[in-house]
Structure formats: C-alpha cells, structure tokens
C-alpha cells in the first residue's frame, strides 16, 4: 500500500498532464494551472526543509569544529544579514537588500563564472594534445572552427575558414547533435513510461527496478 498509492497518484497525474497537453478544453487548462499552484505551494514548504538542512549542516560544522568551519560562520552571518535587510527594508529596487545583492552577490557570481575561461583553457590544453587519432581530429576541427570565427582568417587567402567552419557546424556537427537529440527524446519517452506504469519505483524508495 505504501508503494501502490504513490504509483497510482503518479499515474493519474502523469496521465492527466499527457491529456491536457493535447486537449485545449477549458477544464483541462484550468486544472493544469491549479496543479501548478499546488507545485508552488509544495515548493514553498520544501524551501523551509532546505533552509533547515542548510542551518543544520553549518551549525554541526561549527559545533564539531570541523576543518574550515570559519566558512560556515560566513554563510550563517551572510544569511542573517540578507534576511534582516530583506525583512526590515524590503527587497524592492534601491533598498539595502537590493544594493547588497547587486554589489556583493552579483560580482561574486560573475567571478565564479569568469573562472570558466581558465578552466576552458586548461581543459582545451589537455584535450588538444594530439596523442590519438580522435584527439588529432578534434584539434584540427577546433582550429578550423575557431579560425572561422575570428577576423584574422580573412587575411588567409588559400582557405575559406568561414565557409569551412560553417560547413562543420551545420553538417557533421548538426548531424551528431540531432542524433543525440533523437536518442534523448526516446530516452525521455521510455523513462516517462517506466515511471507512469510503475515499472521503475526506486524514486519512491521502493527498490523498484529490481535488485542491483
């Protein structure tokens, strides 16, 4: 019973979503919006659980004096500061909360994002060492595509890098991409069926899907 009821709910909800996608009747559209509201409400409750987990994790780290627990202090203090400013002054534009968000949170996120350039360089260096046929092919294709994207290739007269780059992107590249997407679409259909029909149950904690 512990498994049958969630499977039945999953099947009914999934089947309803499938039907409403194809039937534009007002009843289905309204019910769809109603269900979406339920999802938001569940999400709000889950956020409380998430925050509880966040606090417990960091308080445990501080209490047990685990290595680098200083960062747990930073997390909790940052949370408290943002929470107090948000509650006292609101979260609208030109408030203290908004100022902190724009001048602390946003630059920090931009910093982490910009690290991507360095990671890309180190990953490219490791991959483009032409130690195998595949790596050599990858290196050659990457060089052509990169040269096709920069103005300096205009000064090369013997090869049209722009055209070669476009051909690589739109013919072999696109073919591979479409092949992957077709496989993904089939995988999505199969996984959805598995869950709707209750064949796969491990997400319910039921050990479905057999033993490992």
């Amino acid at each position: 019973m512990r498994l049958q009821i969630p499977i039945a709910i999953g099947f009914l909800a999934g089947f309803f979503m499938l039907v409403q996608f194809f039937v534009p009747h007002q009843f289905f559209q309204q019910s769809y919006l109603e269900l979406f509201d339920w999802v938001k409400i569940i999400g709000a409750f889950a956020l409380v659980l998430g925050l509880g987990s966040l606090f417990r994790t960091h308080i445990d780290k501080i209490r047990n004096r685990r290595p680098d627990h200083i960062y747990s202090f930073v997390t909790l203090i940052s949370f408290a500061v943002m929470f107090v400013f948000g509650i006292v002054y609101g979260v609208k534009p030109h408030t203290s909360f908004d100022w902190l968000f724009k001048n602390v949170q946003t630059p920090l996120e931009a910093t982490v994002f910009s690290l991507l350039a360095f990671f890309m360089a180190s990953a490219a260096y490791r991959t483009f060492r032409a130690r195998s046929v595949e790596a050599t092919l990858l290196l050659t294709v990457a060089v052509i595509v990169m040269l096709g994207r920069v103005p300096i290739s205009d000064y090369v007269s013997f090869v049209d890098f722009h055209e070669a780059s476009e051909w690589i992107m739109s013919v072999p590249g696109m073919a591979a991409k479409r092949g992957i997407l077709l496989g993904v679409a089939l995988g999505v259909v199969a996984t959805a069926l598995r869950i709707l029909l209750g064949i796969e149950r491990s997400h319910l904690g039921g050990g479905g899907g057999g033993s490992s």
């Binding site: 987990s53 445990d60 089939l186 199969a190 491990s202 997400h203």
Partner: protein, 248 residues
C-alpha cells in the same frame, strides 16, 4: 514509439536480453571500490534543472541504485542539492537504498543537504567540497549549464575518478574533456535500467533501440522518397510534405 517500448516490455517476460556494455556504467563499481579502499566519500550531483525535469528524475533513479551499492560497503555518499524538493526526494531514495542493503544505521541524512538555488553559488560550494573533502569519485548526472566545466575541471584537479551523464548537448564536450567516462544523451536514461538489470527495464532499453532503428529507417525512406518525388512528381511531393508542416 510508446507502442514499441510497451511491446518490448511485454516480450521481455520471455527471457534474458542482451544489452551492449556501457563503459561509464561498467566503471561505477570501480569508482565505488576505489572510494572504499581509499576511505574517502563519493560525491553525487544530480544536475541543476529541478525536480520537474526528466533528466533530474533519471539522475535520482541512478542515485538509488548507486546508494544501494555504496551502502553495502558503508562508503559515505555526499549529495549537495540546489533544489529543496530534489533534496527531500533524494533523502528518501538514499534512505530506502540503505534499508534495502541491510545497513539502515549507516544512513546519514546530513550528507544529503541543500546549498542554494543560485547557479554559481552552488558551483563554488561544490568546488569547495571537492577541494576539502577530496571525494574519490565524482558523479555528475542530470542537466547542467555553464557550471559543468567548472565542476568537472575542479574534480579533475583533485584526482577523483569522474563519471558524468547529461542530455545537455552543449555541455557534453566539456564533460568528455574533463571526466573519465561520460554517458551521452540517452545513456543517462538507460543508466537506471542498466544498473538494476531488471528484465522489464532492460526490455525498455531494447524498445529504445528498436525505436531508433524505426526512426532511422523512416528518415532514410523519407529522404529517398522526397528525392525521387522531387524529380518524378513535384506536386505529390509538395502535398506529402505539407502533411508534416505546422500551420499557425
């Protein structure tokens, strides 16, 4: 396509089915073994797209099978989450896996925790976990965005064995570059069935393969017919083509 999958499931009841080996999934046991020998944890990331994405659900299914194996060896599994709903579901999955493995006391709910829903806040926190805890194996399953390479490269620098699986075609090259094994596209959805070895789920993989053969055959037939019709009877070709066009 649904019918093909359902038929394959029906025929699966008749006997064993062969499925091609997927190196990334064959390496799961090696990764767990390595972590157990080194006495280090395993890090599992289930993407950043939330519980409503089927890729996250596929990642959670894989987590269930993986947790059952790590529970058997009592190897800790760390699961940082960026969605509280995913965290709640994953706690239940891992808890049940530990119960099924006969090790309910080894389950540590605090190892599955919420960090933040901010993309790069989450990324920097996970990078910090990789550097501090030094997991022996990192699993990146689900849908990823720009953080894919940051996570995978940091994991690579810490020397962990890395297995990734995603249907995000834009992030696949990064995972292929920085990880030891990568499950590409549909392999992410096949992983749960592959790890379980349940005949019904394996049959579904067969169904997917048959579906692909039908699709490719359809594509080839369409190309041949369209080419022929264009030369012999362009009117019929145009009418046939209009069946597949979307009219607003």
């Amino acid at each position: 396509m649904d019918t093909i999958v359902l038929l394959a499931i029906y025929f699966a009841r008749r006997g064993d089915m062969y499925i091609r080996p997927i190196p990334g999934l064959e390496a799961v046991n090696d990764a767990i073994g390595r972590a157990t020998e080194m006495g280090r944890p395993i890090l599992y990331i289930s993407g950043l797209s939330g519980i409503s994405d089927i890729a996250t659900i596929a990642a959670m299914l894989i987590l269930g099978h993986l947790a059952k194996r790590t529970a058997a060896y009592e190897t800790p599994i760390i699961v940082p989450c960026n969605d509280p709903l995913v965290m709640t579901a994953e706690r239940e999955i891992v808890h049940q896996a530990y119960i099924e493995a006969g090790k309910p006391d080894a389950y540590e709910p605090q190892n599955i925790f919420y960090i933040t829903d901010s993309q790069f806040g989450y990324t920097s926190a996970v990078d910090g976990i990789m550097v501090r805890e030094k997991p022996a194996a990192n699993f990146f399953m689900g849908y990823f965005f720009a953080e894919a390479l940051i996570l995978a490269e940091t994991g690579n620098m810490t020397g962990a064995i890395q297995i990734a699986g995603t249907d995000a075609d834009t992030q696949l090259p990064f995972f292929i570059t920085a990880c030891d094994y990568t499950l590409m596209g549909e392999e992410l959805y096949a992983a749960g069935a592959y790890l379980s070895r349940n005949p019904l789920l394996v049959a579904q993989l067969k169904g997917q393969d048959i579906g692909k053969i039908v699709l490719v055959a359809g594509l080839l037939a369409g190309v041949a017919l369209a080419t022929l019709a264009n030369y012999i009877a362009p009117d019929i070709f145009d009418r046939f083509q209009s069946w597949f066009q979307i009219h607003n």
